[in-house]
Structures are given as structure tokens and as C-alpha cells.
């Protein structure tokens, strides 16, 4: 399975975990971003994700390189979904294995924080009475 993916298909969390399992690893941290059914108390009907796919993959590659330079991690997998998602659907999975849990937790946290700041993926929240591109306006 590929380390990085931007995909229209549902993400299978177990496959991401299996891909980072390594006999020398003692800890795996996994972050799973899911679609919430409401934002600030307002019901969300669906989310629509789009990506600038080639650039998103190269920005993800940069995150992986940064992570490997900063922490002694064994393997890292980042899969992000695009298209139309509903409450409870998995939008992103980041799995990181390391010999010890410190590195796994810190690297996973850094990866999702940086993804949200730099990777060209956008989501539109669709409500009953309108839609909003998340973070687009102050």
C-alpha cells in the first residue's frame, strides 16, 4: 500500500495500521479525522472535499521528510479522502510507528497540524440553508 494517498475511495483504517506495523516498533499512534454532524451547533448535511492532487502529494511528502528528520519513526502513512463525505465518514488517517511512544505521538500530532496548514485540500460544509468553504474568510 502506498505511504501517501489522496483518494476518492473510502479509507480502510486497518490497512493504514497494518502498513506501519514493524517488528521493531513498540508504539503506533493513529489519528483519524472524521466528519462531524454539526459545526457551532448547526447541522452539517455533508462535506465536499477537493484537492490539488499533485501538489497535495508533494506537500505530504515534505511532511513525511520533516517527520523523519525530527523523530526516530519507523513508518508513516497518510491517506486523505476527497469527494462528498457524510457525518461519521473518515476524511483522513495518519498512522506512525516508532520504537517508543513519544516519537509516535509527537510525529502524528505534527503531521496532522502541518497537513491542516499547508496541504492544498479544501472542504465545503453544506448546511440546510447554505454552504461555507471552511476557513476561507476571517
Amino acid at each position: 500500500m502506498s505511504e501517501l494517498a489522496i483518494t476518492y475511495e473510502p479509507i480502510v483504517v486497518q490497512q493504514c495500521i497494518d502498513a506501519v506495523l514493524a517488528p521493531q516498533s513498540g508504539g503506533i499512534d493513529v489519528f483519524i479525522g472524521t466528519v462531524r454532524d454539526a459545526t457551532k451547533g448547526k447541522k452539517v448535511l455533508r462535506l465536499e472535499f477537493e484537492a490539488y492532487e499533485s501538489m497535495a502529494l508533494s506537500e505530504l511528502q515534505r511532511i513525511v521528510a520533516d517527520v523523519k528528520a525530527k523523530w526516530p519513526v519507523h513508518k508513516i502513512v497518510i491517506h486523505h479522502r476527497t469527494g462528498v463525505l457524510y457525518a461519521g465518514d473518515v476524511a483522513v488517517v495518519i498512522a506512525v510507528s516508532a520504537a517508543h511512544r513519544d516519537a509516535a505521538f509527537e510525529a502524528c500530532r505534527y503531521a496532522i497540524d502541518t497537513l491542516k496548514q499547508t496541504v492544498p485540500i479544501w472542504k465545503k460544509e453544506v448546511f440546510e440553508d447554505g454552504e461555507v468553504w471552511v476557513a476561507a474568510h476571517p
Binding site: 496532522i112 492544498p120 476561507a136
Partner: protein, 80 residues
């Protein structure tokens, strides 16, 4: 020179198309392109941020746009 410009998310909605072809002067820098676009599409100025990527990399303001470059309008990202 003629150049293809990709637009994503709300920027795509503001410019009205995921791909536009613009006629740019030779030696145009990213900052000037940004200014021109904001003049043509004032709604771009209302965004929290608005970046230009050239060939899949966030571009510096003084980057010169070359013929054949892939230019993209990057509104605030919101993945995850």
C-alpha cells in the same frame, strides 16, 4: 505569453472556472499576478489568505512566471 491558471476551492468559485488561460506579460512576478487577479476579482481580497503556487510549490512574491509554468490559485486550505 499565454499561461494556464488552475483555481481551487472558493477561488475556483470566484474566478468561475477550475482552469483559465491568461495572457501575461513576459517576466511577470507572482506578486503582480496576485495584484492583477485581486483587481479583476475583488472577492479574492476578502479571503483570509490567498497564495499562488507555481509548479506545485508555494511561490515567493518575487518569483518570475515562465512560459509553461503551472500556476495555481490557493485559497485558505482546510483539509483534515
Amino acid at each position: 505569453m499565454k499561461i494556464n491558471i488552475l483555481a481551487f476551492g472558493i477561488a475556483r468559485e470566484i474566478v468561475g472556472s477550475p482552469l483559465t488561460t491568461a495572457k501575461l506579460i513576459d517576466g511577470l512576478r507572482v506578486q503582480q499576478l496576485k495584484n492583477d487577479l485581486e483587481e479583476q476579482y475583488p472577492k479574492l481580497k476578502q479571503l483570509t489568505s490567498f497564495m499562488i503556487a507555481v509548479n506545485g510549490v508555494y511561490a515567493m512574491p518575487d518569483t518570475v512566471i515562465e512560459p509553461g509554468d503551472e500556476v495555481a490559485l490557493i485559497p485558505p486550505v482546510s483539509g483534515g
